[in-house]
């Protein structure tokens, strides 16, 4: 399972960075989304995957006696998903507005801010 997730994470990172390096603004957004998902999977993976061991202490004991699935990475991912969802929806609106005003989807055309004025 770990090896499969590791490969998926790698593919998501690679695909995300490849998409960011394209010229189109839509591909840029897609790249950022893929990268965000890659990061979330990475956190999940590095929190160690433990199958079928929920972090609940049995009634008769006071501490964990067995291995247990760490709940912290899942809380972190949940926060990260919500944050990146907000950022991505902002990005989509921003790109749409930028496309309407600038009338281009090509990132190489975005050079008015570099000109002297």
């Amino acid at each position: 399972m770990e090896i499969l997730l590791a490969i998926t994470t790698g593919i998501l990172y690679a695909a995300g960075i490849y998409m960011i390096l394209r010229r189109s603004m839509v591909k840029l957004i897609l790249g950022l989304i893929l990268l965000g998902n890659g990061v979330n999977l990475l956190i999940f993976l590095l929190g160690r995957i433990t199958k079928g061991k929920p972090p609940i202490i049995p009634e008769e004991t006071k501490v964990f006696e067995d291995l247990f699935a760490d709940p912290v990475p899942q809380a972190l991912i949940l926060t990260a998903i919500v944050i990146s969802f907000g950022l991505q929806s902002f990005a989509i609106i921003l790109v749409k507005r930028a496309y309407k005003v600038l009338k281009t989807d090509d990132l190489d055309q975005l050079n008015t801010t570099d000109e002297d004025s």
Partner: protein, 501 residues
């Protein structure tokens, strides 16, 4: 009881941000509330600073969850000083924004987002938890995205796309680093991390994580190969927004670098060499970029990059003298850079342009205002006894003592280039004869403003100029503060003991 109160400036800004939403259409009420609220927040941050100065490091465990399980807020002297400077800059900018930002922008919740940004800044300085730092960073960037694109002008949207992409990428790299860090240590509390990182067997992986943090924070603070978003975007929003961005946003990146590389990844020679060489390259590229600019706001943007190099290099040297220099420079830089962009806003209001080709004759028509604007400009250059001089002295001394003559030379080069750039601005915009500038009919010149509006333009600049004069003439006090911060920052055991008491 007073432990909880270290997050008071943060709470005031949160309440303000929410409260302002109830006055969505009433712009006048928003202005009054924002200015008075920032003033109260500034008083609170002064209280926090005095409290921390007198009683040492204050910690607050959110929800009484003991560290390392809960989120800890740590008010050490570094955090308290930065919170104080945030309060001062935010107060000045809120006065300036109330008059300089046009109504169309104010109507879409400008002030609400502005205070949200200030809240994020305070939170980032005060937190003692790595993941919480990430959350504060996201709060900062989402509100800065709104501020930078509010108004929707062509170059603003273009700048926003560039700014957004690079900052989002930086957050993702930071989050990747966090994931690896958690996988290595199983904790996210900074104090706990500082003890657990040296115990890890696989130090190569620690180096990789440190590098991820360096890249993530490096993008945010505009360090050498990753700075291109800054000059492409910082001159597009209104001056009040650029002022708070240039004064505080890039400095949060520097703060995070200081925190991470003095507390968590310490004695890492690879990172130290990396920081020093990046610093030299940053100083050179920022400085050379600044000389050729024709727009003063772009020129100031390149100077930000140049001066980030001073601080990063001092951090890389990692001695007490160097750290004191870095902290002093940080204190000076926040005040002066905020003021510089306010000055550029005032110049725009006077002459309806910020292009050096078309500016001129400001000294002739406004001699008193010119003298006022000279204070931040020459403080930045660091002509003794103004504020930029003293920290550079410490940095040069540290570079010389450590035998890092490249950095030593780079600091001299950076100061010289700053001098040339500012002298160029001064000669072109202030001394050279004025040219007739055609401005559009909608433009309201400074002379046509009512007297209270004129005051609103001038008072924040006077206020920040007084602060930077104090930093220059009262250098002894600031040196005392920065030396104390430097000793505190270099001794991670005190920080650990304050969190786990």
């Amino acid at each position: 009881m007073s432990e909880q109160l270290i997050i008071l400036p943060l709470l005031i800004n949160l309440v303000l941000s929410i409260g302002l939403m109830f006055f969505w259409t009433n712009i006048k009420a928003q202005k009054v509330l924002s200015i008075s609220g920032s003033f109260i927040a500034m008083l609170a941050s002064i209280w926090v600073f005095i409290h921390v100065w007198e009683n040492g490091i204050q910690t607050f465990q959110a929800g009484s969850w003991e560290a390392p399980f809960g989120i800890t807020f740590v008010g050490d002297t570094l955090a308290a000083t930065l919170v104080l400077l945030t309060g001062i800059s935010a107060f000045a900018v809120s006065i300036f924004a109330a008059v300089s930002v046009i109504k169309a922008r104010l109507r879409f919740g400008f002030f609400s987002v502005f205070h949200f940004l200030i809240m994020g800044l305070n939170g980032a300085f005060l937190t003692g938890d790595m993941f919480n730092l990430y959350v504060w960073f996201e709060i900062i960037i989402i509100s800065s995205f709104v501020l930078i694109s509010l108004g929707g002008e062509k170059n603003q949207l273009e700048g926003a796309v560039k700014y957004f992409t690079l900052n989002f990428l930086a957050s993702m790299i930071f989050l990747t680093g966090l994931g690896v860090l958690y996988g290595l240590t199983g904790t996210l509390n900074m104090a706990d991390l500082s003890q657990k990182i040296p115990l890890i067997q696989n130090q190569a992986l620690v180096d990789v994580t440190a590098f991820l943090f360096l890249v993530g924070f490096g993008i945010k603070s505009a360090v050498f190969p990753l700075y291109f978003w800054l000059p492409a975007s910082y001159h597009t929003p209104p001056s009040a927004v650029s002022a708070i961005f240039s004064g505080l946003l890039t400095k949060v990146g520097v703060y995070a670098l200081i925190r991470v590389f003095t507390l968590i990844f310490v004695n890492d020679s690879f990172i130290e060499i990396m920081l020093q060489s990046l610093a030299i390259l940053t100083i050179f590229s920022g400085g050379i970029g600044a000389i050729i600019q024709k727009n003063i706001r772009k020129l100031f943007s390149y100077l930000i990059i140049c001066h980030i190099g001073f601080m990063i290099g001092g951090l890389g040297l990692f001695t007490e003298v160097a750290m004191a220099g870095v902290i002093f420079y940080l204190i000076h830089d926040i005040v002066v850079k905020t003021n510089l962009f306010l000055v550029s806003g005032l110049i725009y209001r006077l002459k309806s342009t910020t292009s050096l080709d078309r500016l001129g004759g400001i000294y002739k028509s406004y001699p008193k205002l010119s003298l006022l604007m000279a204070i931040p400009l020459f403080s930045l250059v660091g002509i003794p006894p103004l504020s930029g001089f003293w920290p550079k002295l410490s940095l040069l001394l540290a570079g010389f003592n450590e035998g890092n003559y490249w950095y030593f030379g780079a600091v001299i080069f950076g100061s010289l280039v700053t001098l040339i750039a500012i002298a160029h601005v001064w000669a072109k915009a202030f001394w050279e004869d004025g040219k007739d500038v055609k401005h559009s009919k909608k433009f309201i010149a400074f002379d046509q403003l009512r007297s209270y509006q004129k005051m609103q333009y001038v008072v924040p600049i006077v206020f920040l100029a007084l602060v930077s004069l104090y930093i220059g003439f009262g250098a002894e006090h600031i040196q005392q503060v920065s030396t104390r911060i430097a000793t505190e920052v270099l001794d991670k055991q005190t920080y650990f003991n304050a969190v786990f008491k």
